[in-house]
Amino acid sequence: MPVLLKFFAFAALSLVLGLGSAWYMIDAGTALTTTRFGAWEIWHREGMIDADPYTQARTARSGRLPVTTATALYFTARHDDDGYTLTSSCDYEIIGRSINSLWWSIALYDSNGDLIANKAERHSFNSQNISLQSNGEFRIAVSSAVKPGNWLPSGRNNDLILMLRVIRPVNAARTTRTREPESLPQIKRIDC
């Protein structure tokens, strides 16, 4: 193999390895930086002053201002409980119980992190306005078609992101360190 060809192959391989692995670890995360609870994922040092370089890079790249995970937890879900990508082509049901915290909220976004336009102007439910069932459970329908009760319109032709914010959770340390979430909501696919 001529030396020049080897040099170009060497440079290309280095760039692909270096930038590709950096992009993957910042965008998708690994076990070093994230923890999964079913469909939900959390960056466990997000917003912290001594966060690892991958989490710092992610925060800068995202443009978000997360509160430190010592006081608030931000869980995101891009998949349902069976691992399929959340999409507006399908109907989902989020089933859970009120989370023991100062305040919590579940909001729906498209894959760019933008709110989804809908006539009901409904984008989220939180601990102050969600309707609970008599057994203390809540159910949120995520669907492009109108649903009774807690309904989050998912629009059309969107991949979806759900974000669960929990402010001052009672067991934040246990959730992020020992991987025992109190009981995060389930995301069930109902129909496609």
Partner: protein, 226 residues
């Protein structure tokens, strides 16, 4: 097939491959560490486009296409201030009207170093004085002002950063009163105390007079971001 693979492996320049892996590792480290420094669309960059420093802005409710930062909570009303402590400390006066109202203070790169909720605050009306760590040793700041007002001293790790006030909203009907309540929040450079003014005799009478005049000017209010 096996023979082909053997031939490929025997002809692979393994030294070059090993070199690529090493160089790839260096590129990886440089990329990860440089992103916070070069990212133009981080929170500071995005908010810089719509604000000046040391001024509080109350944001309208987050809707589709109207959100200065990505993935903001649609059921929270926000107010923010980009602070710059290069010249002076910054005084933040805010009201945490309900238990769920929160104030979070970040460094320049989005690192959250202070957080307080209405549930934890001893009183609703708060006075927070932001003082950079590097200046703390040569300044006399106390938790009581000359006027006897209580203040919380927040030591900041950097000279610039962002204050973000969150006020969760129960429903649309609550948005207007929350925005009105947030208009009372202010973020401005600290005015010099009488003691500091007397101590600055070496600056001359003219400079002292200018500072006294500036001190007597009315406080700037908040601005709505549109």
């Amino acid at each position: 097939m096996l023979a082909f693979l053997r031939q490929m492996l025997s002809q692979t320049p393994w030294l070059w491959v090993a070199g690529s892996i090493c160089l790839g590792g260096i590129i990886h480290i440089l990329a990860v560490f440089s992103i916070p420094l070069i990212a133009e669309r981080d929170a500071w960059g995005r908010l810089s486009a719509i604000s000046t420093v040391n001024q509080m802005y109350v944001l309208p409710p987050v809707t589709e296409g109207v959100a200065p930062l990505p993935m903001m909570a649609p059921d929270v009303t926000y107010a923010f201030c980009r602070f710059d402590l290069t010249q002076q400390n910054v005084l933040l006066r805010l009201v945490l009207a309900e238990a769920t109202w929160m104030v979070a203070i970040y460094g320049r790169y989005g690192e959250n170093f202070y957080f307080l909720t209405g549930a934890e605050a001893r009183r609703k009306d708060l006075r927070l004085l932001l003082v950079p760590r590097e200046r703390l040793a040569r300044e006399t700041v106390t938790e009581k002002t000359e006027e006897g007002e209580e203040q919380i001293i927040v030591i900041t790790p950097s000279l610039t950063g962002i204050v973000l006030v969150h006020a969760p909203v129960r429903g649309k009907a609550f948005v207007r009163p929350i925005i009105e309540a947030m208009q009372d929040i202010s973020c401005e450079p600290q005015k010099e105390t009488d003691a500091q003014l007397l101590a600055s005799d070496q600056d001359g009478d003219l400079a002292r007079e200018q500072r006294l005049r500036a001190r007597s000017e009315p406080r700037k209010g908040t601005r709505n971001y549109r």
